[in-house]
Symmetry: C2
Subunit: 327 residues, 2 copies
């Protein structure tokens, strides 16, 4: 490549060891020679070879991130926060997308390890004992985001169940006769990690049992159709609690074409508070899961882990109920 310690050493009439010391403040070194070396290095435009350094001491100053995909605004916001925060630690971020494919997830994790990332932030699609063992075998600090895998890996997120309960209580208090939980990912529970959504369902069930309100769960991907059917079948006042803003948006789009108005003819509430809601009218009621706070916290936790600190295995970040126009 370009200028190496060897060049600097030659020019400064010192050994490469001394040059190394000048940069790393390691061991004793004469202040004058140090300054001289630093100055010449700068003049020559010297840049340490990260590969060589990493090969030697095993640190790459990079972390890996594995998430579903980034077209989903939820993950986009997350990645943004992670990148910004990591760079503040002067770390690089290797972003990879598993697209909900478990084999790919496996391969990507392997690759990240190959690239010697010092830690990994993972929003897992896999789950179960075997995957847990595999994660452990990587022998790297790992922080889970959104979907939990096991108590052996720190998890950062909001208290989904509690948030869900609070939302249902709010909906109930607005005089609806019935509340329907719309959560298509539940249909993939047998083959994917949908921890987040399972927790939301738990909260839903707990709250409807408590209030005794009539309820129902739609846990399939043809939810738009099902919702439409429900509304034409019956005439009692119904609210839909969706386990994700995009499901709510899809439903609203469909019902709008049937002249049904959100907040008037039916109630609807989302989850996540993705940024785009700001442009939508009526304003969707939802739960802000502070994805950016979660992401930043995850980076902090990961760095703690990398430094060998003890960390809690479950870290909750504050959520916030957003009271829009649709409930």
């Amino acid at each position: 490549m370009g200028v190496t310690t060897k060049d600097i050493a030659r020019i400064c009439n010192v050994s490469r060891t001394t040059v190394s010391r000048a940069f790393n403040n390691t061991g004793r070194i004469n202040e004058d020679t140090k300054q001289y070396i630093l100055k010449t290095a700068k003049e020559l435009g010297y840049r340490p070879d990260i590969l060589a350094t990493s090969l030697k001491n095993g640190r790459t100053r990079s972390i890996g991130v594995v998430v579903f995909d980034v077209k989903n605004q939820y993950f986009a916001q997350m990645l943004n926060a992670i990148e910004v925060k990591a760079r503040r630690h002067d770390y690089f971020v290797n972003i990879t997308l598993h697209q909900k494919n478990k084999d790919l997830e496996h391969e990507l994790l392997q690759k990240l390890v190959d690239y010697r990332v010092e830690g990994i932030i993972l929003s897992a699609v896999s789950k179960g004992r075997e995957f847990e063992e595999y994660l452990k075998s990587l022998n790297k600090p790992v922080v889970l985001l959104g979907n939990r895998v096991s108590s052996d890996f720190p998890f950062v997120g909001i208290d989904e169940k509690k948030a869900s309960i609070e939302a249902v209580r709010m909906i109930s208090s607005r005089g609806y006769d019935r509340i329907v939980f719309v959560c298509p990912p539940l249909s993939d529970a047998d083959k994917e990690n949908v921890y987040t959504h399972e927790k939301r369902r738990e909260g839903f069930l707990s709250a409807v049992n408590e209030t005794g309100i009539q309820n129902e769960i739609i846990g399939t991907w043809d939810y738009v159709q099902k919702v439409a059917d429900i509304l034409t079948d019956q005439s009692n006042k119904t609210a839909f609690f969706c386990s994700g803003d995009v499901y709510a948006l899809d439903i609203m789009k469909e019902l709008r074409s049937k002249e049904l108005r959100a907040g008037l003819d039916y109630g609807i509430m989302g989850f996540d508070n993705i940024q785009f809601l700001g442009y939508m009218r009526p304003h969707l009621s939802t739960i802000d899961n502070s994805v950016e706070l979660v992401a930043e916290k995850a980076v902090d936790v990961l760095f703690d882990l990398m430094k060998g600190k003890e960390v809690k295995n479950k870290i909750y970040v504050e959520y916030k109920i957003i009271n829009g126009d649709t409930i």
Copy 2:
């Protein structure tokens, strides 16, 4: 780390060179020994040390990406496409965000070079001769996306000017008395690279001159206010052509609160066709700039460049006028 070629060599009773050959199909090697080595390597769970390999041969199998930020759905879609495509080449992607900060952009480019990425995809915020020189000094394949820097670096995008002309013609044909080009980034033209928007303006001007329609340009960030003023001031039929979907969405949000209906009380058209438009009603007329195609093409061009192939310095991808409900 873990298992090395040394271990395998010892166990297989061969030299490390032979082991290396078994993996790289380089030079002659007995098929049996090769299979034996491969088999043992697999059993031992051997993973080549990418750092060492890279240090040796200078190839890291990674590319760098520098874009504004990823909360912007436009860039999110772009990154997604880049990641998927790069992985198909078995390359890793180092994503970094300059947040429209030129110093940061400079630093990030430097860092990517430090990490020995083999090529860079850049959506630049800087521009001008000095920046151009700097880019050249990096001595790496660079592909520009969206904003052009100079003819010395291949640029991938759509023909913004042509698209703009076509859009204005379409608007004109719908019987509007006046057409207003809304392009806030123009106000940053002195300090930022807003090539894309300048091209769009060129197209706008060329088309309105051709048709002779009454026109106006809003090139400041208080565009929402300005638009509102225009509509209350006058009563002729006005269409807004926005240099970005989000500007259009912002305007629609504001005007909706004034009981003005897009497509009826005024016309409006966006640019980009970000995914979220699918959820919006009325459906915004816009121009699909096929960001994913552009991104994929950019990766292809970058790989060509990395392989030392000649590439065209300007590569246009097809755009598409989306005829929604608002014009």
